[in-house]
């Protein structure tokens, strides 16, 4: 799958999104669960959350400012441990290098753990071209792959838009599944089917949550344990990382992993955090004999040094998606990119170009909930605003009028609730710790949400105000 997941027009995708009632229910449920409740429940010990965010931000900013140094250190240390490092400027270069490894190893059976950057470079398409069987082993990704490569709709829960009956039907059609649609039975079937694949694979491919420059290590964060089998069983391993995903030492890795697991899934730590360094050691029995790290630029260096640089601080936690009122309304597929939600609306036009993604910066109410929740303090709504300025400058006008936009989101003039909702959610999202008391006393996240919605809106420029201002500005 490339970064762009649809050739349909933005308006048509949105139209489909808002008419998919299961999807919308699932998204709302996910947001209520992941965006508010779990965060409050699981992060209450970190009373000084703002210090954590400040620290995470300073780490990410420091790394970006010294990126060439840390990448050099990382590659030296990996080579010292016998690993191979390939720096790929483009997705084509990355794919060519990996193709070379596949051919040299005569690899035919490949298992993969979840990786956004491999989607970004369309790695699977190349591998299939080479005649390899490529199996995605993360349960959500596996479901999508079986369903004829249905695109992901969330960066942490890729199959969020599918219900269990649909999943059962896909399993029945594609892998001869005969049981019910209970999640336990479905997951058990996937376990058994995929266990075979792990054991027979000759090549394992992973992404990288954070690489560690000082030791030449990298870590993988999962709950299922699939990444551990991908990296323990096949004799050859290839890890693909976006060039900005690194930290100086284990100590900073720890902080960012803690921020990631709390922000992504509301867990203190996920079931498995795995820190890998080079290939297996001489007498080890499991782990890869050969290890390759492919470090991918693919447009990232063009973002460095610009007003959009801070988007490279992103640790792909999905928290901004979980609180976004527009995502809630239109769903992940509407964005037409593997990166949906606020992070996607900022990142997709930068990596994929304005031609394909110029509508995305408008898929936002600029309410700021995303900015308030981001664990590494990326000013997302300001970056969206900057995109709009760039687009207007480039095109001489915005691609939308207010009317078109409201229509695209399925909103009549009489239903401004959506646009107010985002800004009124912000107090919950921005400080899940200090409001913890208030919310945990409530009967549930939904109630909490409705209560919050009655609060006065924070004093921020909101979507409708922004439109008004813009109108006054004379359009």
């Amino acid at each position: 799958m490339a970064m762009k997941i649809s050739t349909e027009k933005f308006n048509d995708r949105v139209e489909q999104g808002i008419h998919d009632s299961f999807m919308r229910g699932a998204v709302a449920g996910a947001q209520d669960g992941m965006g508010v409740k779990r965060r409050v429940v699981t992060t209450d010990e970190l009373s000084n959350w703002e210090d954590w965010r400040n620290h995470a931000e300073e780490i990410r900013q420091h790394v970006l400012a010294n990126l060439d140094y840390y990448l050099e250190q990382l590659s030296e240390n990996i080579a010292q441990r016998g690993g191979h490092v390939f720096f790929a400027q483009t997705k084509e270069e990355a794919n060519e290098y990996i193709r070379g490894v596949v051919q040299r190893k005569k690899a035919k059976k490949i298992v993969k753990s979840k990786s956004m950057v491999t989607e970004e470079i369309s790695l699977n398409a190349m591998l299939e071209e080479e005649g390899c069987e490529v199996v995605e082993t993360d349960l959500g990704e596996y479901i999508l792959q079986l369903d004829d490569h249905d695109p992901p709709s969330h960066i942490v829960v890729p199959a969020l838009h599918k219900n269990k009956e649909q999943i059962r039907d896909v399993f029945a059609q594609k892998i001869g599944y005969t049981k019910t649609s209970t999640p336990e039975e479905l997951a058990y079937h996937a376990r058994v089917t995929l266990r075979e694949k792990f054991l027979e694979a000759d090549l394992g491919i992973t992404g990288c949550n954070f690489a560690v420059a000082e030791t030449g290590s990298f870590c993988l964060v999962t709950n299922e344990g699939n990444a551990d089998l991908v990296t323990a069983l096949p004799k050859t391993q290839i890890t693909v990382m976006g060039m900005e995903r690194l930290v100086p030492t284990f100590e900073e890795m720890e902080v960012l992993v803690s921020m990631l697991t709390r922000s992504a899934v509301g867990q203190k730590l996920t079931s498995y955090i795995t820190v890998l360094t080079g290939p297996r050691e001489e007498l080890d029995v499991d782990g890869p004999e050969e290890f390759h790290l492919v470090i991918v630029d693919n447009g990232r260096s063009d973002i460095l040094g610009t007003e959009f640089q801070s988007i490279l601080q992103c640790i792909r936690c999905g928290a901004c998606i979980n609180v976004c009122p527009v995502y809630r309304h239109i769903g992940g597929h509407s964005y037409g990119s593997i990166y949906p939600g606020p992070v996607g609306a900022v990142l997709s036009p930068l990596l994929g170009g304005y031609d394909d993604f110029k509508e995305l910066p408008y898929a936002s109410t600029l309410c700021g909930a995303c900015t308030e929740v981001c664990p590494v303090k990326i000013p997302l709504h300001q970056l969206l605003h900057k995109h709009r300025q760039v687009i207007v400058e480039k095109e001489g006008k915005a691609p939308f009028s207010e009317k078109m936009l409201m229509k695209a989101f399925g909103l009549g003039a009489a239903s401004p609730a959506l646009y107010n909702m985002g800004s009124k959610m912000a107090p919950v999202a921005m400080n899940p710790f200090t409001v913890g008391d208030k919310i945990s006393k409530g009967p549930g996240p939904l109630k909490a949400w409705t209560e919050i919605r009655e609060f006065p809106a924070p004093n921020k420029e909101r979507f409708r105000d922004w439109f008004k201002n813009r109108e006054k500005g004379g359009e």
Binding site: F250, T274, V275, R280, D284, G287
Partner: protein, 241 residues
């Protein structure tokens, strides 16, 4: 010592970065930054081992993991009970002198085999046979090197005697946790990992932080326990202090 690996295309790649950042390439070692914020060291600062254990127990309830406590004398009985609760063998264990030091020889080498419960001790000289045994095992037993109270997490370092797959292929997993290994959180483990690297110049090729059994919420956000890794997990805390 492994062979030195290769590095491709580095200079042009890094030059592009320094150009974007509008400055010359950074080469010399840069000093470790002085961070303005360090909240991680404050969590459970000064907590006693007993307090840490209490914190861990509470969290175990959230991660679908049974926690047992015992002294060394009671260890064989508790371990036997937990393994039986999981339906018995086959059992796979890492090769570690502590099993013997903790008085488990009789259980592992006599009692279980005599009851038809096979026990396989990791043996690197047998190569891939180890993985085959781990895949057939019902229970994998390993020993935590560092234990994080906050998240109820065990930390394991791989080497020739401590195979990675012992923790992933068997259907269930039992971790033996010396109480002396408890630290407040991930922070202390990270500091320790750096120290080991600085002192020895090495890092284990795989360091696992494991928190309960494997799970997934990928189907309608329902939590399913037991996906690719173990379906069940238990911790046995040994009062060794």
């Amino acid at each position: 010592m492994a062979k030195i690996g290769t590095i491709h295309n580095r200079d042009s790649f890094l030059n592009k970065i320094s150009k974007s950042l509008n400055r010359p390439r950074l080469t010399g070692p840069i000093p470790r930054p002085e961070w303005k914020y360090q909240p991680q060291h404050e969590v459970f600062k000064g907590a006693s081992p007993d307090e840490l254990l209490d914190i861990m127990k509470v969290h175990c309830q959230k991660i679908h993991t049974n926690l047992y406590e015992t002294d060394l004398k009671g260890l064989p009985d508790v371990l036997n009970e937990v393994v039986e609760g999981y339906g018995g063998g086959p059992v796979v264990i890492s090769k570690d002198e502590r099993f013997s030091e903790w008085g488990l020889d009789s259980l592992l080498k006599k009692e279980w085999p005599s009851r038809d419960m096979a026990v396989f001790e990791w043996d690197y000289t047998l190569g891939d046979e180890n993985v085959r045994r781990a895949e057939q095992a019902n229970v994998g037993i390993t020993i935590s090197e560092i234990t994080l109270a906050e998240s109820a997490t065990v930390v394991l370092f791989s080497d020739k005697d401590h195979g990675r797959t012992i923790n992933f292929l068997p259907a269930t997993s039992i971790m033996l946790i010396p109480k002396s290994t408890l630290v407040p959180r991930f922070t202390q483990a990270a500091v320790k990992m750096r120290e080991i690297h600085q002192q020895t110049g090495r890092v284990a090729s795989c360091i696992n932080f494991i928190t309960g059994p494997s799970n997934s919420a990928d189907i309608e956000l329902n939590l399913v326990v037991g996906v690719h890794g173990p379906i069940k997990a238990s911790y046995i805390v040994i009062h060794d202090l």
